[in-house]
Point group: C2
Chain length 388, copies 2
């Protein structure tokens, strides 16, 4: 695979796993649909009119609508968890390795759906439907910008619940997601214990602990430093691309690991003949890669949405002792966002409170992103867990 | 201890250990001196005129000058490794817990000296003497800014060697340092194997591996985003304080660990009545702490020096297989800057190449900063190692 393609793949979906999940003749083709709520009241009590989120699904709902699985997406992800929008799409959804006909999460057996969250990062991506600061406020005819109310993981989940209700689904077979998607799975288990049979949470704890809260602040600060951010008022003007790129570089780096960096880049200079030791601007290869990936990602993203997502993650606050449904919690020992001991703390508290919890490690060089690159290691465990 | 004092302490020296090393009647009082080289040629071949660095020392050089120990400082540190400049100084040097009369590194036995590096971060601190972008270029009468040549860890060490030579010291008993100071200790061992008897490297590997190289880029980017940075040309104008503060927040956070965050801050809001769930600018306590600490640190620091330090760390490239002198390598299992497996890689390569290497873990909640807060755990090991 060419270096350029690697950059593009990473840029779009942070998916190095795409190497292993390339197009097959049996690709699921999905259609993006829109779910709309005329009015939604946030957890904090603010009203948002005309809330729209995108969603997609494959498989067939059975007669009693008991075979639905909801996949909740990560910070920089979308509803595109598996399959393709068109047969010639170069990239399938991020968990295509485990979701599809005959795969670990078998769409011949389950009806698998996934939706874009509120304040989805990739507001400019053609297939993404979301409501956030970049959306038009019906009351003013202008983008909300910073007047958009704060939303939390719990808000994401409440909107998903309305979507599920609209489909007549009384109880989901499972909610499953990685990272911020895992936070949503825990929120489902706490908020709607009667509406979900079991959850799969990958590289996530039940809540954001203080260190993660601080990292979210660090992720957000480059955007605020960019003068083009202009306190969030940049719609119709030049967006704060430099700040957004810098923020996305942190996300890309912290989501991966030192073994990946060592194997992929070494200490080579970015350009032959431009020795990093000779001039301050002369970069190393890994820095140039992070730059390129950030350029591609930033082109589809909205900076204010990034800030709102950081806040949503900071507000994640599920009490693991209140989880009553069975949990499968996968973690990565070299994860730099949800550290193994943090995930273990969640697992221990669930177990101490008497609920059933299973766990396994995803081993690989990609840290947090082992949730994508190594997910097939635990495919069988997921299949068995869902079948119970 | 008041919250305010904690902020100041952390701001000045990243030293939570100060709690345990408060003023004693027997404090060593040190005098800051200046060492000058009329001209220095960098590793990359550039000439810098009138290079000045500050240094301080305690103890007495013995007759054959064989009892000198050089302490090399970390990224945001200075030569002030122990003791005080005046009896009423509130804070002692960062390793005062282990250096001084009767301590693990006994100044009754050893002559212990430490110098400010080139491009020292704290260029505005009254006791710091350094040469870097903020210094006046004798050829122009103006600050160098970005015209200052790139310098590396090896340059820091070459200037230290000139200082040691000027004192008539033929062979140091040891070079010891933490983090960037540990990189310098390894550089001493490789560059001057006949001039140092043994080294102590704490929370450092022999070189910067690709992941750390990328993090240095992430540390540097907020400064470049601040319009006041103005491509490094801000002397005599308003400095890029916002960018510098944002950069220092990353340093403070990544140098510590989740256990510290959990125990110290929890998920409390920064201000009573300003619920982070209610408005985007409403912060958590830990974020406000990082802000305050960064304000205090940024006031004494120079933004261009920060960028040059990032580059110097990126260029650290000692080959552990070339180390011939005995090494004591201490590491922190929860270190997020020099990960344990990275340090172990260095140790293994030194050992494979036939040199003597001892190691021990510094256990505590502060990650990388266990090198400060927990250093006394291995005080005896250091004493024994030095006495061989």
């Amino acid at each position: 695979m060419s270096r350029h393609l690697v950059v593009v793949l990473t840029a779009i979906s942070l998916v190095l796993v795409s190497v292993g999940s390339r197009a097959q003749s049996g690709d699921v083709i999905l259609e993006k649909k829109t779910f709309e709520l005329p009015s939604y009241t946030t957890v904090a009590g603010e009203i948002i009119k005309s809330v729209k989120i995108g969603w997609e699904a494959a498989g067939t709902l059975n007669a009693d609508k008991s075979n639905a699985i909801l996949v909740t997406h990560y910070f920089s992800g979308t509803s595109h968890a598996f399959g393709k929008y068109a047969p010639d799409d170069k990239i399938a959804g991020y968990w295509d390795a485990i979701i599809g006909p005959g795969k670990a999460i078998d769409t011949n057996k389950y009806y698998v759906l996934s939706s874009d969250t509120l304040v989805n990062l990739n507001a400019k991506q053609s297939h993404v439907v979301t409501t956030g600061p970049a959306s038009i406020n019906p009351d003013t005819g202008k983008p909300y910008a910073m007047s958009f109310p704060v939303v939390s993981i719990k808000d994401f989940v409440r909107v998903q619940k309305a979507l599920i209700d609209s489909l007549g689904i009384k109880k989901l077979k499972s909610v499953m997601g990685l990272s911020m998607g895992g936070l949503q799975a825990y929120e489902w288990a706490q908020s709607y214990p009667d509406s979900v049979d079991r959850i799969v949470s990958v590289v996530a704890a039940a809540s954001a602990e203080p260190f993660l809260i601080a990292w979210m602040d660090v992720w957000a600060q480059p955007i605020r430093l960019d003068p083009k951010w202009n306190n969030g008022d940049y719609y119709g003007k030049e967006p704060p691309l430099d700040g957004l790129k810098a923020a996305l570089k942190i996300v890309t780096l912290q989501s991966n690991g030192w073994e990946w960096a060592q194997k992929t880049f070494g200490t080579a200079p970015a350009e032959e003949g431009k020795d990093p030791a000779k001039a301050l601007p002369n970069e190393f290869k890994i820095d140039a890669f992070l730059d390129q990936a950030a350029v591609a990602r930033a082109a589809l993203a909205d900076a204010n949405h990034f800030l709102y997502l950081c806040k949503a993650v900071q507000l994640a606050a599920v009490n693991p002792a209140k989880i009553k449904v069975p949990v499968l919690a996968l973690y990565a020992p070299n994860d730099l966002i949800f550290y193994e001991p943090i995930v273990r703390e969640t697992i221990q508290k669930i177990s101490d409170a008497g609920a059933s919890v299973e766990t396994a490690a995803l081993i690989g060089p990609n840290g947090h992103l082992n949730a994508l690159t190594q997910i097939r290691q635990e495919a069988e465990k997921i299949t068995t867990f869902l079948a119970r």
